[in-house]
Amino acid sequence: MNVEYIKAIIEAVLFAWSDPISIKEISKVIDLDLKTTERIIASMIDEFNFTKRGIQIIRMNDYVQLATKPEHHQYIQKLLEPKQNKGLTQATLETLAIIAYKQPIPKSEIEGIRGVKCDRALSTLIEKELIEEKGRLEKTGRPIIYGTTLVFLKTFGLNSLNDLPPISEFQLLTEDEEDIKDLFN
């Protein structure tokens, strides 16, 4: 395998994975030693920055991730005008609902249900102390699993999770979600 081919594979892996991934994990996937993988990724980071590309590789400690560049932000923002409303947005509420009913649950599963990434909603919920990390799953990437907090119970006036409305009402909620999706398509 030549270097160009390895770079292509790494790009593909970063794209498909889309979340931060450790360089060690990448080295396992491409079956190459850590040092060489490190070096190749470092040169990819430079190339992505140097060439006028729309995406970049950002590095956080031993993790890397594909992301858009800040200078294109204004265009991406045009895709969807800001929706300002009081309290939690629909997106955040939906994420919270999924966590409440399916906890403990990893991010990937929430995203599977909602069909969109929900990093922003998760960080809002964590910030508001409505959810918290409950540990990690023992599988690839050791994903964090989330659950609701005491603040959540208090905020929604529940004595316990058993007080959550029965699941049939929850199904109605996901139909709303379809409507929302329709709006954006």
Partner: protein
């Protein structure tokens, strides 16, 4: 007597007929109806024996085959009027036409399948939630610290270095911008928009000098508690808004 036949599930009467034609290497335009009908019926019986679902369509085909067979047994009528004589229509024609039509799509289905196999090897990225939502913007300065602001400032400078704005680092110039001016400019922007992003403030600036002055003006406004700053998470947009008091 009974044939030992390996019975498989067939998609329908055409699928079965097609199988028989291929198996017997029959010319589709000259189907020996009697022979095919016998074999067809044997298959149907075998299918019933092993409890395969023989739907009514299979039985309708038996009727069709028998009808064709009987038509072929009839002596060909001589037309009295010579002028009206036309080529005798082969009773198998309709069946052949439908078999060919079916065969066409059977092949196409296979071609589609192999195309599908290839594109099932593609992976897509899960969709990002592009909602620039402001989830309850009451706590403006919460979680903000100087480090984040300075990081953001660095980013602005770096972006300007990438060519979108003309930055001249070698020439020393007289200061053409004052902090007072920039404070007014920021307040002016905020009076029409209520909320602007950090990047927006630096968008149309022409020099490093102006960028720095604007940044200092912003710091000054924060110190005077005239504006508030909020960022929902790391590396996301920083929002600047006027403080109502």
């Amino acid at each position: 007597m009974s044939y030992k036949i390996k019975v498989q599930a067939f998609e329908g009467p055409f699928d079965l007929l097609f199988h028989l034609i291929e198996k017997n290497e029959i010319d589709i335009y000259d189907i020996p109806i009697s022979e095919i009908t016998v074999q067809y019926i044997q298959y149907i019986k075998a299918m019933q024996e092993i409890d395969l679902n023989v739907t009514s369509e299979f039985l309708v085909m038996v009727a069709t085959l028998l009808e064709i067979k009987s038509k072929m047994l009839l002596p060909v009528e001589k037309k009295v009027d010579e002028q009206l004589e036309f080529e005798e229509v082969d009773p198998r024609n309709e069946l052949v036409r439908r078999l060919l039509e079916y065969k066409k799509y059977k092949y196409v289905a296979d071609a589609l399948k192999s195309k599908g196999d290839l594109s099932s090897k593609l992976f897509f990225k899960p969709r990002e939630e592009i909602i620039f939502d402001i989830d309850d913007s009451s706590n403006l300065l919460e979680e903000m610290d100087m480090n984040k602001l300075i990081l953001a400032f660095n980013k602005v400078l770096k972006n300007h270095g990438s060519g979108s704005v003309n930055v001249n680092l070698r020439k020393m110039e007289r200061e053409t911008f004052t902090i007072e001016e920039k404070i007014n400019a920021i307040l002016n922007t905020l009076s029409t928009k209520a909320k602007v992003t950090f990047n927006h403030l630096f968008l149309k600036l022409s020099s490093r000098n102006e960028v720095i002055t604007t940044f200092l003006a912003l710091l000054e406004l924060i110190r005077m508690k005239k504006v508030g700053v909020k960022q929902s998470n790391c590396f996301s947009e920083i929002l600047i808004e006027i403080k109502s008091n």
